[in-house]
Symmetry: D2
Subunit: 325 residues, 4 copies
């Protein structure tokens, strides 16, 4: 395993605003996500070894933002990323990016598919190619790698593996031959990445926004998750993600990772946040930001902003001593 | 106090604040309710013929307030009063009073129970004494009267009735003999009265308050009443009264008369009013006022005022550009 | 007051099946409802003085069924009828009928509108013509009558009234002149009648059915009415009627009168009845019967009968020791 | 893929009932769980390489049951196990076992803590010792292993690692020295295991049972998860586990892994299963079995069995032609 996949930066950048951290090395899906960020073009990109390092860069001021994988269409939420956001204070999501996930089987030059006995692969990638591998290499063994790129790199570092599962771009970085491509079990597989920062500035509403939250349930009485969900449903807010994560102190205690349609400056979302805060012993606002898919939020018109402001005016008028004309 | 419910007062009062309207004549349960109002002592009391007149006095400025019956423990809500409050704009309930309901059977001097063939009674009073009358006068006939006092008065105005159902105090006003007392079927029967005004000033919260509302449902899709009730239950607010009344334009269209525990200045009640206003096509706030029974409102501490204000401060802090320390 | 509005039957009918009771005398809206019942044609119709007598006829076996008014589009539920159904055991509704409600102002021959000072009217009828009377007879007085027909009859029995509010058919029964017709405030006013029996046989489902129920809430904790309503909403059942009635033992204790779309033999309705029975300390099934308006029940197809039977089969298969093939 | 990680059985067992599969090799936490199963004592235990092999043994009849890890108090649900149960038909959970999770840091004899540069560890174990490692070996590198025992074994198979994270029992199987013990970050960490079989026979209710289910939501309209949860809350059933897992065909589509308090033979649980089956496009019953913690299920007495049977009898009586006495 490489102890320094990205290589430490030779010198400090002129300004914090110039640095973006990502899970390296060059060639990862995370790098592909970072390439989608217009603000990051021409800036310094800092490849790090793992999620913890990426977030530490942000928290400790070595970079302005970090790109991290947050959800996979096959494997679900990336638990370690969700847990990090739940426990490290001060982080905010400021952007969302989708990267199609596709894999190739690569080997050292001269190897053929028939030669492959053992496959090196990151566990998540391995799970996503499981059906292809079982079908085409029924007797293969599996060696786990720490990243998709590390899997390929291991072929040249004395690994016992004959082949590796890697992203297609691997051929730009290593002298490998492609034994098979498109070996992922689901051709529509996609990974969702988020850009994380410590800025307090919330991106402007676009009408196609998402708000990320993490909330604990007050206790485990029947129905407390129901009460949490009602904070959204009674304001006509759809949830695109709801995942439970153990709080970690005992079996049966959960926090919930939530992506809600809409922006904190939408009245219905702000009102749901108020309700959530009153209800939950611990709620974290992770940010409102434009959706990667750009899909405009559809919602019942009885939850539009005007309905909320009109109700507030009505309530205020009730206790005015002078009658409202 | 005017002794002539229908006749106009001989002279105008010095000030509007000096006049209270009530369903007369003297001796009614409504007068008993008005006697409980400290502010009304020593003022002019205007006895009127019916609810419409009482409310017209208030709306048209002939009196500062009117006492009206709003609910009966046996017969339920007084529909005509509920409908009047729902359709006459500008009315506010400023006080609530309970009067135990008790009846006597009275007759012209010289009459005995054995002589009674026909009984004159206000329909509501008749219904409340039904079991006693069936048991003791199995073959009696019923003549309806327009008020409890009018029933007794009719005995001296050529009515075909031999006896009348009346309040106990009737003996102070008419030369009748009591054939039987305590003839009500339920010894705990009580009628709830409210004092109605056009003031915009809401009585101060006491911790033992009630808030009266009338709300229409948005449409008759399954579950819209459920949505209405959730506006209260999700804020921990108990309802002491919920009655449906037809809107009147078609079968199956209802408005709901609601008494909620708490005061409009309680955060949870104010928030429920906001939710109700956003939900309902038509909602009327009829007032917040001290409960007649003085019972302090018990509610889950997670709905106390501080929880609401803290949540608002938290929400505000989220979009502050400067991090909250 | 007449002690015998309908005239006692001269002889007992050959069979109980030949007798139908209704609120007489001839000419009432109730009689108009009974005329809509095909099974009642050519049978003996027994006119009675009041609701109690009509239901007693059924309970005590003097008639096979009684027609009673149950809801009015202006005044709402007929409380006394609802309360009778809630407290007299063994009654079942077997049919529903709608009668348009229309009123005329009648007087003794020779009277003109200008002569009218006092109007005799049943309180419900009076309420429904209130606007017309206020507009055309601003200074009139009101004398209450025990039925719409009795109001007109009183004109010939020494009443102090100059005119009476009555159904249009009154001219077939009394020698009156019509001073004005269509005096009802709402031209679409309609009264809903039900045919009540003690039969245990439930009318066959037609696809356009209604199920009537009366249920008490378990206690007055916040949300118990919500729980009751959920028994219906979670099975996709719309309620065409929901009315609260005081249980009568104390303020704040209610039972609810409910008309639900569908028939007890519809799986979703039967399942809701099970849920209701488990929930409520007291629930009465008043019958399933064809709707008067013949409107077919629309409901989400995920609540159709097959879904319920399939689920039962699935559940049974889970605990079969032999695997389901 | 190794065909013999744990030592292949020398001969086939006399009977299928004699074989239990578990994640080997000897010394794993899974083996510790299997030691808690009285029925497995004295039978043949088959150590396999991974979850897929363990479940294949059961489905293909090579063993009567397999022990698998299903939830971890720190890391949450074991996704791959949850997904396997959701997609492999015919599996049933027949028992639940808890194993305290504790780790030691081991090395080849002669190594000291100061010598350690690289640590071999299964990713889940690594995550659970993260704080200790960061504190005591701030500059360590991590090599992933395929199991906790494999991590230690690698020390003798040419791994570049200097130490390994392993279960305390490792000292019985490998010639290692313990550099540190109790290095887990949470002293109360526990892993939940389940015994999986294809039997159709459900363990008898004990009063301290758990029912495991996997259900898909019908679509992503707001509130469908709410509807799912209501199937339980309206029957007073607490959920000890609720986890979302992506269905895998697109982002935003989830199935839910649920552990509900109670047994399928409890009426309230059976009724919830019916509701769930009607609601969900796909629901799998994974079994009812005694809870590992032996904690008796507390539930509101209005959901006890008798309430359900009484309601069914009542419903049946309603459509009996003969009145129920």
């Amino acid at each position: 395993m490489s102890s320094d996949p990205a290589g430490a930066p030779a010198e400090l950048p002129a300004s914090l605003d110039d640095v973006y951290s990502f899970l390296g090395p060059s060639g990862t899906f995370t790098e592909a996500a970072l390439k989608q960020v217009p603000e990051a073009r021409g800036k310094q990109w800092r490849a790090v070894n793992n999620l913890g390092e990426a977030l530490a860069d942000v928290v400790e001021g070595r970079s302005v933002a970090a790109m991290i994988a947050i959800e996979n269409s096959i494997e679900g939420g990336v638990s370690v990323a969700q847990d990090a956001l739940a426990t490290i204070p001060g982080l905010r999501i400021i952007g969302e990016y989708l990267v199609p996930v596709n894999f190739v089987l690569v080997a050292r030059p001269g190897t053929t598919l028939a030669d492959v006995r053992t496959v090196n692969a990151h566990p998540v990638a391995y799970a996503q190619c499981h059906q292809w591998l079982d079908r085409n290499l029924p007797e293969h063994g599996h060696l786990p790698a720490s990243s998709n790129v590390a899997a390929a790199a291991s072929l040249f570092e004395g690994s016992a593996a004959d082949a590796a599962v890697a992203p297609p771009g691997i051929v730009d970085h290593h002298d490998v031959v492609v034994l098979a491509d498109n070996i992922g079990d689901n051709p529509n597989a996609v990974t969702r990445f988020v850009l994380v920062s410590t800025t307090r500035s919330v991106p402007e509403p676009t009408g196609a926004d998402k708000t990320s939250l993490i909330a604990e349930l007050p206790d485990d009485r029947p129905g407390s998750l129901l009460d949490l969900l009602e904070q959204f449903s009674t304001r006509g807010i759809n949830l695109s993600l709801i995942e439970s994560r153990p709080v970690g102190d005992a079996l049966g205690r959960y926090r919930f990772v939530i992506d809600a349609d809409g922006h904190i400056r939408d009245e219905r979302v702000a009102d749901a946040l108020l309700g959530l805060r009153r209800f939950s012993p611990s709620v974290m606002f992770l940010g409102s930001y434009p959706r990667a898919d750009g899909m405009r939020i559809e919602f019942d018109q009885r939850y539009r902003d005007e309905v909320f402001t009109e109700a507030r005016e009505w309530l205020a008028s009730l206790t005015d001593e002078a009658p409202s004309a």
